[in-house]
């Protein structure tokens, strides 16, 4: 039976995280987490493959303890098993380190897997690098932005749209695919399913040591990049601020900019009184 692994990540629900001016860091802890949207598409692709060919699906994530939630959601969507890689030593990993750890975890926890699916990118770190780098670590053929997957025997057929080219690719399993967000619209996890998933026990938690990764290896395969500074973009315009009750504010706005708007839209919105002034 086909063994599929889906890599998922928990991301903050909002994009405007509270910013701590003093320490210059983001209060990530204040934001609720959710499953990265692109990972849902990857999970959907896995579920559809299972419906068609039969498969076992393992969801895997590397993250803080709270990341367990996305694994529960994955179980509710239909994953058979889930693995959480959780280790304080792994916090702040860049894609180089993340892909190394994920590869070791997949090799240890899901040996002989046929297909690894990733989301195209995450909504927080947004690099789209983990998938391709994981393929390198696993030394398997891969393709990004898949819109359609088919399997016959050991051969995986992928359709995708890249740089305005429609391509059909073929490769032998095991392989790694990142799934486009244009297709495989994810199903909802039912409420009952969610309840059930939170009761399920098929969730393994491992740390670096449990994966047999030594401190020396961690060091050697650690992050290559360092974030020197994070800053808020500076504003570009000196702006006019309008506040107050919406009804008055809308009228005030139109009064003030009626000339400009009229000129652009090619229709007059000037009121008589204002038109003469």
């Amino acid at each position: 039976m086909l063994k599929i692994v889906v890599c998922m990540k928990q991301v903050p629900m909002v994009t405007e995280l509270p910013w701590d001016e003093e320490t210059g860091t983001l209060r990530r802890d204040l934001a609720a987490g959710m499953m990265n949207p692109a990972c849902k598409h990857a999970m959907e692709a896995a579920l559809q493959l299972r419906e068609k060919y039969g498969a076992s699906i393992t969801a895997i994530t590397m993250g803080p303890p709270a990341a367990e939630e996305v694994l529960r959601e994955a179980l509710a969507m239909g994953a058979d098993r889930a693995v959480l890689i959780c280790d304080a030593a792994l916090a702040g990993s860049d894609t180089y380190a993340t892909s190394y750890i994920l590869a070791r975890a997949i090799q240890k926890e899901i040996p002989g897997c046929d297909l690894v699916l990733c989301g195209a990118y995450t909504s927080d770190s947004e690099t789209a690098q983990v998938g391709p780098q994981l393929a390198e670590e696993l030394k398997v053929p891969s393709a990004a932005y898949a819109e359609h997957l088919e399997i016959s025997g050991r051969t995986l057929r992928v359709r995708r749209l890249v740089d305005n080219f429609r391509e059909t690719l073929e490769m032998e399993c095991p392989a790694l695919i990142t799934v486009s967000m244009e297709r495989y619209d994810p199903r909802y996890a039912s409420f009952a399913g969610l309840n059930e998933a939170f009761a399920k026990t098929d969730l393994a938690v491992v740390d670096a040591k449990g994966l047999g990764i030594t401190a020396v290896q961690l060091e050697a395969c650690g992050s290559r990049t360092r974030v020197r500074r994070v800053f808020v973009r500076s504003a570009q315009k000196r702006n006019v601020v309008i506040t107050g009750a919406a009804a008055n504010a809308a009228a005030e706005f139109l009064d003030k900019y009626q000339r400009k708007i009229s000129a652009v839209i090619g229709k007059s919105i000037e009121t008589k009184k204002q038109a003469q002034s």
């Binding site: 994009t15 789209a128 749209l161 391509e167 290559r224 504003a235």
Partner: protein, 333 residues
């Protein structure tokens, strides 16, 4: 022994030439950076029938061209390109490799970085260099509201991908010259594991908001689909089009063709209304040329509000209703 000349490489992504000319834009930035550290700019191009590209990269500022031209490289193959670039980079040890963040580049660059055991930053919006040659890569982070300065301190080459449109190309000048090295295809190249079965150029998309004079964009702050679709009425009154942010498209309130920003359309309206949008850089990257911006947000601190000519602090849906009502009173067709 003479010190090795520093070198900044730009990957020649010629397949995308007609769409975005990102390679030329990167050469231009590389020329500026190279000046700071007395390096040369080297364009690396692999494929078939490359004379046109060699010429083009030369005329746009590259000092050296490394070209591997072979019929077996006629169509793009990530694996072949990886093998060739890895080999060249190991042999010649460039300080920096810049790659366009095209679909191809975004798949290719991470794998190349992994093979070279080095760091990579994605989608940079600025590149700078310190006197001792550290590439300061500014990339959007945390959903685009923040920028992060990323450095690769202890590994070489330093690698970055850059979105098309970030830098401006140097005008074509056919009196420029470059050292052109035509290299043979290495003998040991193994057959790629990924086989290209068929490909065709996709049809261009039909309706487009890129040329709208008035744009009414809405974000997650519109709250729900029903509220969001009221923007249609404002757009109709103003003779404009509706645009959306990515969460809106994800939620199914609008189709992908209305997405504005890095991953969507670049618009250049004379007037832009921005309802309930935070102003993440991936979105504002698509607003480069908006003349007059009116932002409506309940949070006066939102980036979009700071970028606006007029910042309206209000509930977006509520203010929209009043604006529509007021406009209907005033418009005389």
């Amino acid at each position: 022994m003479a010190m090795k000349k520093k070198s900044i490489w730009v990957f020649g992504d010629y397949r995308n030439y007609y769409q975005n000319r990102v390679t030329l834009q990167l050469i231009a930035r590389a020329v500026d950076l190279a000046r700071e550290i007395s390096a040369e700019v080297c364009a690396v191009v692999v494929g078939h029938d490359l004379e046109e590209w060699i010429w083009e990269y030369t005329s746009h500022g590259a000092n050296r061209i490394l070209a591997i031209d072979h019929p077996s490289l006629t169509s793009y193959s990530t694996e072949h390109y990886l093998a060739l670039m890895e080999k060249l980079a190991r042999e010649r040890d460039p300080d920096i490799i810049l790659i366009g963040a095209t679909d191809f580049g975004r798949e290719f660059a991470p794998r190349l970085a992994k093979r070279l055991k080095t760091g990579l930053s994605a989608d940079c919006v600025a590149l700078d260099i310190t006197p001792d040659g550290l590439l300061v890569q500014t990339a959007p982070s945390f959903g685009g509201n923040m920028l992060a300065e990323i450095v690769t301190e202890h590994h070489r080459p330093q690698m970055a991908t850059v979105r098309p449109g970030t830098f401006r190309e140097i005008p074509h000048d056919n009196t420029r010259t470059a050292v052109v090295e035509r290299l043979p295809l290495p003998a040991h190249l193994t057959a790629p594991r990924v086989r290209l079965v068929e490909y065709e150029r996709a049809a261009q998309k039909e309706h487009t908001i890129e040329n709208a004079t008035v744009m009414v964009c809405g974000g997650r702050g519109m709250g729900n689909k029903k509220n969001f679709r009221k923007l249609d009425e404002l757009a109709r009154l103003l003779g404009g089009d509706v645009g959306a942010t990515r969460p809106v498209v994800f939620s199914g309130w609008a189709g992908h063709e209305s997405l504005v920003g890095q991953a969507g359309k670049h618009i250049k309206p004379k007037i832009l209304f921005s309802f309930g949008i935070s102003g993440a850089i991936q979105h504002t990257a698509g607003l480069g040329e908006a003349d007059f911006i009116v932002a409506i947000n309940k949070n006066p601190q939102a980036t979009m509000m700071k970028m606006a000519d007029v910042a309206v602090v209000a509930d977006a849906g509520d203010w929209l209703n009043h604006l529509i009502r007021e406009l209907k009173k005033r418009i005389r067709e």
